[in-house]
Amino acid sequence: MNEEKNNIPEKKGSSSPKDPRRREVLKSLATLPFAGALIYGAFRKKQFEHYKHNKLLQTLSLGTREDQPVYAPPARKGDESVLGIGVIGAGSRGIDLMRSAGFIHPSLMDEWIMEKRINRQDNRIDIFMGQEDLSIRINGVCDVFTVHEQKALEASANIYRNGKDGKKGNPATVYKDYRDLLKAKDIDAVIIATPDHWHAQMVIDAAKAGKHIYLEKPLSLTVEETLAMEEAVRENDVVFQVGHQNRQIESHEKAKEVIRKNILGKISLIETFTNRNSPEGAWVYDIDPKANPHTVDWQRFLGSAPAHPFSAERFFRWRCWWDYSTGLTGDLFTHEYDAVNQVMHLGIPDSAAATGGIYFFKDGRTVPDVMHVSFEYKKLDLNLLYSATLANSKNRKKSFYGHDGFMELDQDLVVYADRDSTKYKEAIDDGVIPTERPMVTHIPGESDIDAITSATQQYFASRGLLFTYRGGQQVDTAHLHIKEWIDAIRHGSEVSCGIQEGVEEAITAHMGTVSYRKGQKVFWDADKKQIVTS
């Protein structure tokens, strides 16, 4: 009691001077709880998003980020003897492939450097200079047009990646006849980028000469050619790669995972497209004024094609005629088909039915500019549609329709759940899986496919915009594809688009072409290895 009595006056005495100070402190820190509340709220929100995200990944069996395969080109081993390469066909595509292999034409180098000075965001020069040195030399070039020949020579000498005034190495040897190039001892492998009607003979001859082959698509003009090429490549055991550089696109690797994990459910329809709307897109390329019967070896260009007087138009725009080309199916559908085939391993279809015509470019061409082909895969209960027009440029993306989801595939990848999905019904009802926005996406440059959470990512994904920034630098897919081929030659590793894939691509394309040209549905007779009409 005494203590209490003694304490009371002390408390009273001390409280009166402290009260104003307490008030001061209270006023000073009055808003501090708001900061605490915000941090608590942010933490709870993050927890909720984390829970939702994990539940979505769990539902889709996507696992954790660490579990997912990350695209990586094969590593080099170190025993790098320099490989000698021959380039057969050095038109625009051949020159592009030389650049992808590391040999840029000096004037293009100057142009890109200049462009970079004007526009700092133009990173083509950075991408090129960032390319790995494949330890190869272009030792031979062959083209029927002297201007192409000269250009290829200049590019072949640009071993130090310089502009016109920079240091150069020795240029390649020029061969008028590709057969002589194939005989050269300093040629280990060839890149073939000629018109389609030359592919078969050149591949067969190169394989017989023991040269490894990188061949631009499409493989061939006919089924017979395709089978002969397959035999030559297999018998001579050369490393063969079809130039479908989209095999190297990151999003295709991710799409394989989506299919492997059955995220879309039973797929019954796949749509593929080509949309272009310019003369160049329709193969009406510029005609070089230097092209004439003296500068173009016209007979060598024709080869086994039907005889025709010299025509600069046919020489530069050969894709417009069946004599040298396979039109939409061979030139453009093959890209689409190969993308689907690498993701789904469809193989050759049972049947094909095509329609179309020359509706817009009435310029004397024989190949159609608008086309639809419906391919049936009976055992898979699946239809693959190809829809193409060269007179409208709307961007339509490869679309995979499954019972439980829908996937759009291009440089990016977006997956939507189907609102009537059986598999995801519960998750959709619980709000774990959205149906009005993508549930899975892959944005180029990021290493994983993911269930997206941020509004920005959702938006960019839904618009299919390409911002390759994180998770690695931008790369030229053709460079990766050539590198894969070179690695396979050196180290015996696998190529991603070998003769098997090439044959499947070619036969499928030819079924579309034959159906269009015959005006009737065609079938693949797997026993006789023939396209038949009944």
Binding site: T31, K46, A455, Y459, Y469
Partner: protein, 152 residues
């Protein structure tokens, strides 16, 4: 009311910072690349240089968080408000609501010349003119401390 306004704006800025901090791999790259208007070249340049972009990202994430926190608790609020005005001015200049501008980033409203960034910036300017940190805020404590030292 001014204190409430200060806390509310501080809250908004701080959460913008924290949200970016918690979102792994967040970058201002896309926002900067989406810039339009007379200053777009400057913002594109910021985005195109990876080193500069890292600095911009860092300043955005931690700058917003710190500025917001300072405004909420009223600590060094004069400097925090000046920094907030600068940040908001950059956001406004990067994405000005011009007649001809069409942005990829989704907006939640319709704007012409004046948008919420500008309004928020003006509101912070009002708070700068009529400071409240020394009334309710840690700045009051600092001021009292300074006064007491002066008296001694």
């Amino acid at each position: 009311m001014l204190v409430a306004l200060r806390v509310a704006i501080g809250w908004h800025l701080m959460y913008e910072g924290i949200a970016k901090l918690l979102q792994s791999g967040w970058s201002s790259y896309a926002y900067l690349m989406d810039s339009q208007g007379p200053f777009s070249g400057f913002f594109h340049d910021l985005a195109s240089n990876p080193g500069v972009l890292r600095v911009v990202d860092f300043l955005n994430i931690y700058g917003l968080t710190l500025v917001g926190f300072s405004m909420i608790i009223g600590l060094l609020s004069r400097y925090a408000k000046m920094a907030a005005i600068l940040l908001l001015l950059f956001y406004y200049l990067a994405h000005p609501p011009l007649i001809t501008a069409e942005y990829l980033f989704p907006g939640e409203g319709d704007y012409l010349w004046i948008n919420k960034n500008l309004i928020e910036m003006l509101a912070v300017a009002v708070l700068l003119v009529f400071p409240t940190g020394h009334i309710i805020g840690v700045d009051r404590l600092i001021q009292n401390f300074k006064n007491e030292r002066r008296k001694k």
